[in-house]
Every structure is written in C-alpha cells, then in structure tokens.
Amino acid sequence: MAEIPPYPGAPRWVKISAIIAGVLVLLVVILLLVGGGQHGPGRHLAANGADAETQADAQPQGDAR
C-alpha cells in the first residue's frame, strides 16, 4: 500500500471561521457571566408572570392623594 502524503492542514476559511466562532463563544460566555449566569426566557419573568421592566413601570411613583 502506498504511503499517505502528509496532511496539508486546514484551509484558510476554516481557520478564520474557527477564530470567529471562538470569539463569539467567548462573547456569549462573558454575557452569561455578566448576566449572573442566567440565560433563557425564565430570566425575563417574575413569579407573577410580569417581567422586570413591567414591574418597574408598575411601581407607584409617590402618593397620588
């Protein structure tokens, strides 16, 4: 059986894509860490179903009387 020629390595598009993917993964990890490790729809929801922004809007701004 003939000897297999040496592997020429990954093409440039693969290397560039791998770098971009690595940066994106790093970015997601950083965002997850900054966001307190919570990700997913649950983080937007409070116990009563309203999200944090809605609740903030619903807070009374002072005594209306």
Binding site: Y7, A10, D51
Partner: protein, 178 residues
C-alpha cells in the same frame, strides 16, 4: 450502504426542502416577532404570539430535525461522509447549535402564546421576553443562511480523517450535485 442514482436525488431534494423550509419558517417567525413588538393594534399583537408558537412547534422544530436527520443519512450514505469535509462538519455543528437554541426558546414562546390568549398585552408587557424572541430569530436567520451557502458552495478542505480515508481508498471525489 451507498446512495446512488434516483434515491440519492430524492434524499437530496428532501434535504433541500427541509433546510430551506426551516429558513423560510424562521423568516416568518422573525416578521411575527417584529410585529408583536411594533404593532399598536392590540388584537394583532394578541394573534401574533399564538401564531409564533404554532410556527415554532409545528414547522420550525419538525423541519430542522428532518433536515438534520436527512443530512446525516445523506452524508453517511454518500462518499462525502460526515467528518471528512470541513463544510459538512460546519453544517452539522451549526444545525445542532440552532436546534439547542431553538429548544431553549420553546418555553418562552409557549408562555407568550398562553399570556396573549388570556389577555391583551400593553406595549411594555413582557418586553424582555418579546425582545429575546426577536433577538434569537435575528440570530438564527444568518446561521441558517450560512448552512445553505455552505451546501451550495461546498468550500474545499478535507479534515485529517478525510485526508486519510481519501488516500486509503483512493476514491474519486463525489459529483458536485450531491
């Protein structure tokens, strides 16, 4: 087993149909998510979220799983293989990533549909979740476009495993239409 002739074309057609179908369904989902955020018509907003839920569960999820399954059969039953060419491997990774993100979104989509079915939504209601659905649809679309582009252009490059297999068998490369 190796796919040949008509069967190979049939499997290819099914793969293209399911992959491009997923892309189209995600585009529809994106439009609905934008309407859900931007429209001032309360009835329209209430209708949008159940429609998004149906689109996700009965079109996007089945079509992307079918696309993955058919793609696996296609790669394993043709000389392309699953781990021999970088573009095939990239497609596999991107599709699996998309499926994971999609499955993680289903609870939120279902929740929005349930809330919209119960009551009217003000422009500030569940804003974070509604924006999240739009954000993930915006992210999913280029990923699916990328997998489609890889399928058409089939950029050169074999993996180390593919290189070894190619030279062990000294088999010719498959036809460009496979």
């Amino acid at each position: 087993m190796t796919l040949t002739g008509r069967l190979r074309k049939l499997v290819l057609t099914a793969h293209v149909a399911t992959s491009v179908g997923t892309l189209g369904a995600v585009a529809v989902f994106l439009v609905l998510s934008v309407v859900g955020l931007a429209s001032e018509d309360a009835q329209l907003v209430r209708a949008v979220y159940p429609a998004m839920d149906l689109t996700a569960r009965f079109v996007i999820v089945p079509s992307i799983f079918a696309s993955l399954l058919i793609g696996l059969v296609q790669s394993l039953a043709t000389p392309w293989g699953l781990f021999r060419h970088y573009w095939v491997l990239a497609k596999l990774l991107l599709t699996v990533l998309t499926i994971i993100v999609l499955l993680l979104q289903l609870d939120g989509i279902g929740y929005m549909a349930a809330v919209a079915a119960e009551r009217e939504l003000s422009s500030n209601d569940l804003l974070g979740l509604r924006r999240s659905l739009r954000f993930h649809a915006v992210g999913g679309l280029p990923v699916l476009l990328l997998t489609t582009t890889l399928s058409v252009y089939k950029p050169r490059g074999v993996t180390r495993y593919g290189w070894r297999k190619q030279h062990e068998r000294a088999a010719p490369l498959p036809a460009a239409d496979s």
